[in-house]
């Protein structure tokens, strides 16, 4: 079998197993309320870590100033309860304009 196809299939199968963890364990294992609460907080922690590394890093290095500046602009807009579209466009536009101005 083609090695690239094998790679895609292995990645797909493994990912699906991860995703099945919730539905398969659900109902069989009665999770205490404390653990369920921790899982919810854990999902939030993962999302925040994802956005922090996504904003600041590229590969294993610093992403440059334009991207975190854009994310910060989006974050301020979100904090002020701006509409979602404004947050997204504000973040992208800030970064795009900074890059246009030569900031990387």
């Amino acid at each position: 079998m083609n090695a690239t196809l094998a790679c895609v299939l292995a990645l797909a199968a493994g990912t699906y197993v991860f995703r099945l963890a919730g539905p398969v364990l659900h109902g069989r294992v009665e999770l205490p309320a404390r653990v369920q609460e921790l899982l919810t907080v854990g999902a939030t922690v993962l999302l925040v870590a994802l956005l922090a590394t996504g904003a600041l890093t590229e590969g294993q290095g610093f992403a440059g100033w334009a991207r975190p500046a854009g994310v910060l602009a989006g974050g301020v807009l979100a904090w002020r309860r701006a509409p979602f579209a404004v947050v997204v466009v504000g973040a992208a536009a800030t970064t795009a304009l900074l890059r246009l101005a030569g900031v990387q």
């Binding site: 090695a3 690239t4 196809l5 094998a6 790679c7 895609v8 299939l9 292995a10 990645l11 797909a12 493994g14 990912t15 699906y16 991860f18 995703r19 963890a21 919730g22 539905p23 364990l25 921790l38 899982l39 919810t40 907080v41 854990g42 999902a43 939030t44 922690v45 993962l46 999302l47 925040v48 870590a49 994802l50 956005l51 922090a52 590394t53 996504g54 904003a55 600041l56 890093t57 294993q60 290095g61 992403a63 334009a66 991207r67 975190p68 854009g70 989006g74 974050g75 979100a78 904090w79 979602f84 947050v87 997204v88 973040a91 992208a92 970064t95 795009a96 304009l97 890059r99 246009l100």
Partner: protein, 254 residues
Amino acid sequence: MCSPHRTDDPSHRTGEGATGLVRFSDLPPGVLRDIALVWLADAVVGVSFGAIAVGGGLPVWVPVLMSLLVYAGSAQFSAVGVLTAGGGPVAAAATGLLLNSRTAAFSLALADDLGRSWTARLIGAHLVTDETAAFVLAQEGRRQRKAAFWISGVGLFVAWNLSVLAGALAGSALGDTDRFGLDAAFPAVLLALVLPALRGDSAARRASAVGAVVAVASAPLLPAGVPVLLALLGLLAARRGPRRPRTASSRSAS
């Protein structure tokens, strides 16, 4: 087995709940528009993913099949990055799996929201992504959470796969998508989505702050995917603080 003759279930009368049908009207006002925006934003990323993969020398079927079966943006980017950089299929699959191991945590957190039938669970599991997790966690009620999951999940799957196909066919004509600032839009989307969960919950704030610092500090040292998982150490900070129900809190006014 659930008996069709059970009459004490109030949802039985209308058929909803029992069949688990999801309606657009289950979503609070404005949420559908937010979801549609993420579809659109992800579609643009999908186009760039398809274009980058084909531009890097991979045949069209690789990004297309990957999007259908793996269906995880960051893992697809990293796997294609490894493949086009000549890193080999084993390294590509391992990197992608490491990145996707967080979906296990999301799927545990969302297990209640996919629905009761095994068909719903088996199909729903494939739709667990960062985006659907964030939308579900932003909803309060059970019906709202389920609707947010299925509506955002199915739409995202369609948008992602169509856009990857379009990008792969368009090839590398699109050029460098970074100049549109899209790389900043995604962290900002996640930030906007987790803010409601952070506003009312000081334990989640503490845990997330510690986790983010751990992840960013370890990012230069560790392979992709590991820093985000290490962020779960932040949960230790959540456990240590005083826990009390929301109504009893004195300071968290907003």
